[in-house]
Each structure stands twice: as structure tokens, then as C-alpha cells.
Symmetry: C2
Subunit: 107 residues, 2 copies
DNA sequence: TAAGTATTTTAGATATTGCTAAAATAGAAT
DNA sequence: ATTCTATTTTAGCAATATCTAAAATACTTA
């Protein structure tokens, strides 16, 4: 009689949950959310984002490094400035749902 | 000449982003995600959830209190046990997207 | 090469998270 | 009333998050 591993699906669930946690932690910050929302409309450089979001360049740079490390954005230098752009379809999908929930006119 | 407040939409954005942050922080934890996923299929008592998720009752209870405080779940005592159920359409919407992203068979 | 602009990195302070262990509460059963 | 079972609450600790200030890096221009 072969021993079936019934807890495998539990381990799979834990693995999925951990991946989702890592992903959600990137989004679970008001400043990073605003950064990502600004990038939805196209690439922006750090100074522009800093002004739009209202963060110091240093603080913003740390957020950007985090998002880039997580694979949600990419960067490209052109001359003095560095341009960031959204590169995660998953992030865009979740942002779209969040916008429906939290950015309705009446709320 | 009337002075138009152009930063109003920025303040609105900040408000929305803060609300979204509060919401996402509740989800951005593997154990809480698993709890919520278990509740998608119907109400459960604390002991059952603790076993399913693999958490101590105390730790779980703290997570449940948090989720309840955030309005994502409700509880009802029946006899000795306390039953929890999902009560947030918003949470369900995001969980559905996360499931599509992270719980595909091949990943 | 020196000076300026854009951005990143580091260090450190403070707040939040999430666990464990122990004590407290609430209802049920004896 | 006492005891049992289910759950919550509290206290305390280690890890993580996020800001500021200061120093470092990278490219451009004089």
C-alpha cells in the first residue's frame, strides 16, 4: 500500500501564501502605491515621482530599489536622469482592483 | 480671481492610498491569507482554522482579532465554539485575483 | 579636471509586526 | 460550585519597515 502524502496540498498552499505575502508587502504602503499609480500612465524619472508623491528623494529611492528588486518595476538611465516603468502585469491587475475599491468618486 | 486648489486631487490620492494600505496590510501575511482562504468555503471555528493553517491558537486568535477589527471577518459564538466568517466583498475580490496569480497548478 | 545635477547608499532612530508563554475569560458539564 | 474546553488577552522579545541626514556615485557641462 503506497503512502499518499495528504499534506502536500497544505505545503503548496503555504508556498503560494508566502509568495503572495511577499508580493502584497510591496504594495502595502501608501507611498509605494502612489508611485506605482503614477507609473501606470508611463515612465517617470525620480525627481518627478518624488514631487508627485511628496517624498524625499532618498526615501523614494529606497522604495524604488525595493520595487525593482521585487520585479515590479525596471529602470533605465538616459543622460542624467533615471526613468522607471511598471513591468509587472500582476501588479497592474491588483492595482486595477484597488482602484475600483478605493478610488471611486463618492468615497 | 478665485484660487483653485490644484492639490486637492493629490490629497484625495493620498487618502485613497492610505485606505488601500490599511486594507493591504491585513492581507500581506501568509498566515492571514491562509485563514481567509479557508473562510472562503464557509464559516469555521478557531480550532479548525488553527489546525488547517498550522498556528498556535493564541497566534491565530490575534490574527483573527486583527481581521475582525479591520472589518474583514465577523464572529458568532454557538455553544463552546466561536465561528468566524468572511464578510468583506473587497477582500474576496482581491483574494480571487491573488488566487489567479499565485495558485495556478503549474506554479 | 573641477563643479553641478540626479540618484543611490549607508547609518541610525523609531515604530510596527508576529511570535511564545502565561494568565484571564466564557460557557458547558459534572 | 468546581472543573473542563474553547478562546482571548497580556507581556515581552526579536525581526522588519520606514524615515532622516549625511556621504557616496554617476553622468554632464564648463
Amino acid at each position: 500500500m503506497e503512502k499518499r502524502n495528504l499534506s502536500l496540498s497544505h505545503e503548496a498552499m503555504q508556498r503560494h501564501a508566502s509568495e503572495a505575502e511577499r508580493f502584497l508587502k510591496e504594495l502595502a504602503n501608501a507611498n509605494r502605491l502612489m508611485v506605482l499609480c503614477h507609473l501606470v500612465s508611463g515612465e517617470k524619472n525620480v525627481g518627478d515621482i518624488a514631487e508627485a508623491v511628496g517624498l524625499s528623494q532618498s526615501a523614494l529611492s529606497q522604495h524604488l530599489a525595493r520595487l525593482k528588486d521585487a520585479g515590479l518595476i525596471t529602470s533605465e538611465r538616459r543622460g542624467l536622469m533615471i526613468y522607471y516603468r511598471l513591468c509587472s502585469a500582476e501588479a497592474q491587475a491588483v492595482l486595477a482592483v484597488l482602484q475600483l475599491i478605493f478610488c471611486r468618486e463618492h468615497s
